[in-house]
């Protein structure tokens, strides 16, 4: 079997195990207030980290490029309570305009 097939099947298997394990841990684990506080913060830290990495990372380097302008426009749109599609599309248009014309 080629390395690519091993990667496809292996990563798909562990991805499902990750997802399924989460659904199968006893419910009483969630009853602790400390756990609830931490669990509320989990999506905040992971999504924030994804924002940072996907805005600035180019492989293992940090770069400032058209993506930052797009994300900046998205944040302005969010500040003005714009609906989700407006946020995303305004970011895409800004980024594409800078990338294609500058």
């Amino acid at each position: 079997m080629s390395q690519i097939w091993i990667a496809v099947i292996g990563a798909s298997t562990t991805a499902f195990i990750n997802k399924y394990v989460g659904h199968s841990v006893p419910e009483k684990w969630l009853d602790k207030p400390r756990f609830k506080r931490i669990n509320t913060l989990v999506p905040i830290v992971l999504l924030s980290a994804l924002v940072g990495v996907q805005t600035f990372a180019h492989k293992k380097e940090l770069v400032v490029d058209q993506r930052l302008a797009g994300v900046g426009v998205a944040l302005i749109a969010l500040k003005f309570k714009a609906p989700f599609p407006v946020v995303v599309i305004s970011a895409a248009i800004t980024s594409a305009a800078i990338y294609n014309w500058f």
């Binding site: 990563a11 841990v25 999504l47 996907q54 990372a57 994300v71 990338y99």
Partner: protein
């Protein structure tokens, strides 16, 4: 359940998220084929793995000549957050057997994010399933189209898709930042991830921010 994006704001949010995120599947399809994956291998990643960041990691590492084991390890690390999402969703969904298997498969950033923004369990359930199934359908459809038209949309930057994804994540994290502490935690997570990016393998900067949630959440 009937979906009504005109009158129901949950459906509207869920479908906009599903469509915009799904569209990015085209970039993934193109990335897969460009990295040397066949169309079938690329589509199988979207059907079976179904977690964007992990999928990009797999094709990125294999395309750069990495070993299968490092692609699997990175994807697993990136996908660990889905286990935490599952932990959050299980008491709300309360499903067993085949339904749990199917619900687990669509437990991703977007479905959990839309669900946890809602005020009660019925709405959370609705947000989770419409977003999860919606992303699954659009993501797989656009993966296939992207893989087919790999050369046409080879550079996602031309279409601004490279900024659309972090913008989408901004849109998902923004409504969660309700107090000063949460803003600080968010800023700390961004800084942490950026500091680690040049130093650690891909995925580590994201997954290790979980430590910040433990530190900040430990005491009231």
């Amino acid at each position: 359940m009937s979906i009504n994006p005109r009158s129901n704001p949950i459906d509207r949010t869920a479908l906009s998220v599903a469509f915009t995120v799904g569209l990015y599947g085209a970039a993934f399809g193109a990335a897969g084929v460009t990295a040397g994956f066949s169309i079938i291998q690329t589509c199988l990643l979207s059907l079976l793995l179904f977690s964007g960041a992990s999928q990009f990691a797999v094709v990125g590492i294999m395309g750069a000549g990495g070993a299968a084991i490092s692609a699997i390890a990175t994807a697993t690390l990136l996908g660990f957050r889905n286990a935490l999402y599952g932990l959050q969703m299980a008491p709300i969904l309360k499903v067993k057997g085949i339904r749990r298997i199917l619900s687990a498969q669509i437990t991703i950033d977007e479905s959990t994010a839309v669900a946890t923004l809602q005020e009660n369990d019925a709405d959370r359930k609705r947000g989770f399933y419409i977003t999860g199934i919606g992303v699954y359908v659009f993501w797989n459809l656009f993966t296939f189209l992207g893989a087919l038209g790999a050369s046409a949309i080879g550079d996602p930057s031309v279409w601004g898709l490279d900024a659309a994804v972090p913008a989408a994540f901004c849109g998902l994290v923004w409504p969660r930042l309700k107090n000063k502490t949460q803003f600080i935690v968010s800023a700390a997570a961004i800084s942490w991830a950026l500091i680690l990016t040049p130093l650690t393998p891909a995925g580590v900067p994201i997954i290790t921010t979980v430590l910040l949630s433990v530190i900040f959440g430990w005491k009231k």
